[in-house]
């Protein structure tokens, strides 16, 4: 029972912290992107991509969580 609890706890921390970090960074990039887009609309595509970059953190967290749960 305890092991199962810790597994779920570990998995949720792996995804949760990754998601929080991603959200924080995306918030920062998003704010800067809006500022840049007011000046140069043609950067829209690049800005969407920049927003996608921090998602690596939550995706890696997700992979770790899957490995913990299925481990």
């Amino acid at each position: 029972m305890t092991e199962v609890c810790f597994r779920y706890l570990g998995a949720s921390i792996a995804v949760g912290l990754g998601a929080l970090a991603t959200a924080y960074v995306q918030g920062k990039i998003g704010a800067a992107a809006v500022g840049a887009l007011i000046e140069r609309r043609e950067l829209t595509g690049l800005m969407i991509l920049l927003l996608a970059i921090p998602e690596t953190m939550v995706i890696l967290g997700f992979v770790v969580a899957i490995m913990i749960l299925l481990g």
Binding site: G45, L49, A52, I53, E55, T56, I59, L60, V63, L70
Partner: protein, 632 residues
């Protein structure tokens, strides 16, 4: 591929400068460069720029007029989209800067801009009036009744909802005067503001004005109705607001109709003027790029190999040898200056659009378009992988292709969608997914594997694909560097590829639970040691980067899993509802959301994997795009 370029120098007597420019413009193949940046022309001591005072004046007239025309066309395109793709009449040799023409076009642009500005202003006003109406409209019957009674007075306020103390202060002050003989009614709320209506006896109006409103000034913060709508009484103010809204609505509609009429009447003329003015501006700007001596002019630029012969023959024919053309292959030192033109086959060409978010690749390096044509749809399909969604994509692509026939942008986008749909269809069949689990409910097992339950299998598959993708990048980078004789850097790229596969092999053994010995570490340690020998100890730090690059491809699995889970939840809505209407509606709505996400997210993530992980292995960017001197 990156089209090979040749440097071209066109020289002739000053008297031929205008015909030569006209010929180059009509040929439309020469990318003209600024003679100030040309080492040969600057070293030869020639003067640069052939823009006289008169030309500068003309440019000063043409540029603002072109801007006005473009702006008017943008307004007209919004007002009447059908006229957006209207083709300009060939402008010919008209004097686009004559007084009459400028006056005529200027007047048209003024009319269009005026109507557009009026429409914008009225729409903005309507938006504000709508807010007031929604806040106060429920008071209207009461206000009408109070006016007919002639014994009570009304006053309207708008408070910020975050300042409830203001309402309390008002209530207290009113009670002190009326002794409770008043009422405060709440109206609608809008964007954090709420409307209040005060009702009190008409006889107390002056006292309330002096003892309540005057005293509370500065203590309660209200939002005032704009001064232009303020009338002597609140009832009149409300009436004025509602009447103004009706008028503004009619005015905005009238302005929109006017713009549509202008679009029908002026679009063709303005498009022609745009083309003519564009040519005028380009010709004048290019004159500023030329070099000259007392009797000769010199034009330098770049031309795609294969187009030079035709241009040379045309110049010879036209000027009978009086204008010379000199051509040379660019030297490696000149590569950073060479404008880049990509040329790909019919199917790969649309994928050049995906590179437009970045500066073009350096001349002499590799054009990744064909590789993107293979891997972008592959990744997209791997994530979406659903037969039902793929059919919707096909339908969408066909719809847009038929609606926007002949528009290059839409042709390219629909081609990319078709590629992605084919890939989604293929993976949908392999995963056994049709709008989520409908495939399964039809009693058919997934032909390859069920990615929802076999998560680790999917993970290993996407990591292997990631390894392959990075290896292709490394090999392309290695071969390009080797061709330029940067052998050490090329070797590093090849060793990166070897390290990736070494890691993959060891990981495979571990997952398959095969016995692992120290000897197996050699598959990773050997290429790494060679990298350290070639590049120093810092190369050890590259391992985490390499591993994280491969792990990054996990997003293909993660997003795919999210997509199928959402589709399954949508199907569950239908099953749980027992097939009633709301269940079908909820299922369809969620499938729609999932499809919208499924179009956006896989595209962004696939692009990201290319731009960040893949391009990092070989893509060098920074050159200018090839922009030939020709009409728009």
């Amino acid at each position: 591929m990156i089209v090979p370029m040749e440097r071209l120098l066109v020289a002739g007597p000053n008297t031929f400068v205008n015909p030569a420019l006209k010929l180059l413009h009509d040929a439309g193949t020469l990318h003209v460069t600024n003679s100030r940046e040309d080492p040969f022309l600057t070293a030869s001591g020639l003067a640069t720029g052939m823009l006289g005072v008169e030309d500068e004046e003309l440019l000063g007239l043409a540029e603002p007029l072109l801007f006005e025309v473009k702006s008017a066309l943008a307004h007209l395109a919004l007002a009447h989209p059908a006229h957006r793709e209207l083709i300009a009449i060939e402008p010919g040799n008209k004097d686009w800067l004559s007084d009459d023409f400028r006056e005529h076009i200027g007047a048209i642009c003024g009319e269009v801009s005026g109507a557009a500005a009026l429409k914008r202003r009225l729409e903005e006003e309507l938006k504000h009036l709508g807010i007031y109406r929604r806040m106060f409209e429920e008071f209207k019957p009461l206000v009408d009744m109070a006016v007919s009674m002639r014994t009570v007075e009304l006053s309207g306020f708008i408070f910020h909802e975050k300042a409830p103390e203001a309402e309390a202060a008002l209530e207290n002050a009113l009670s002190a005067v009326t002794g409770g003989g008043h009422a405060i009614l709440h109206g609608g709320s809008e964007e954090g503001f709420t409307a209040l209506l005060l009702v009190f006896p008409l006889a107390m109006r002056n006292r309330i004005q002096n003892e309540v409103f005057t005293r509370l000034t500065g203590r309660i913060h209200t939002i005032n109705i704009p001064a232009e709508y303020e009338r002597a009484t609140f009832a009149d103010t409300l009436t004025a607001l509602f009447e103004r809204e009706t008028l503004a609505e009619a005015g905005a509609e009238q302005a929109a109709l006017q713009l549509r009429e202008y679009a029908v009447r002026y679009s063709a003329l303005l498009k022609t003027a745009e083309k003519g003015l564009d040519w005028t501006v380009k010709r004048l700007r290019v004159r500023n790029f030329l070099a000259r001596s007392g009797r000769t002019f010199w034009i330098s630029g770049w031309i795609p190999r294969g187009s030079r012969e035709e241009l040379e023959a045309r110049i010879l024919r036209e000027f009978d040898g009086a204008v010379l053309v000199l051509a040379a292959e660019p030297l490696p030192d000149e590569y950073p200056e060479v404008p880049v033109l990509l040329r790909n086959g019919r199917w790969a060409k649309p994928f050049e659009r995906l590179l437009q978010f970045f500066p073009p690749p350096v001349y002499g390096s590799v054009d990744p378009t064909v590789m993107m044509m293979v891997f972008f749809p592959l990744f997209f399909g791997l994530i979406l992988g659903d037969v039902g969604y793929a059919f919707i994509m096909f339908a969408m692509a066909l719809f847009f292709r038929m609606r926007r026939t002949g528009v290059p942008l839409w042709n390219d986008i629909t081609t990319i969608i078709i590629f992605c749909a084919i890939s989604s269809l293929s993976f949908g069949i392999l995963y056994g997914e049709f709008f989520g689990k409908l495939w399964n409910q039809m009693g058919m097992p997934p032909p390859l594997f069920d990615r929802k339950h076999e998560i680790m299998v999917t993970e290993v598959a996407v990591l292997a694909l990631g390894g392959l993708h990075l290896t292709v990048g490394n090999l392309v980078g290695g071969v390009t560097l080797a061709a330029k004789r940067y052998y050490r850097l090329a070797a590093m790229n090849f060793l990166d590829a070897a390290t990736i596969w070494g890691i993959a092999y060891v990981a495979f053994l571990a997952i398959a639970q095969r016995p692992l010995g120290w000897a197996h570490a050699g598959f990773v340690v050997t290429p790494l040691s060679l990298k350290v020998v070639a590049g120093g100890l810092k190369e050890i730090l590259e391992i985490p980067k390499l591993v994280s690059n491969i792990l990054s491809y996990s997003r293909l699995m993660a997003l795919g899993l999210a997509s199928i889970m959402l589709a399954d939840v949508a199907d569950d809505f239908y099953t749980m509802s027992g097939g009633v209407l709301w269940g079908i509606a909820a299922a369809l709505a969620l499938h729609l959301v999932n499809f919208a996400l499924g179009m956006l997210s896989p595209a962004i993530q696939s692009l990201r994997l290319h731009y960040v992980e893949f391009f990092n292995q070989f893509y060098k960017m920074g050159n200018r795009r090839y922009e030939p001197f020709r009409s728009m």
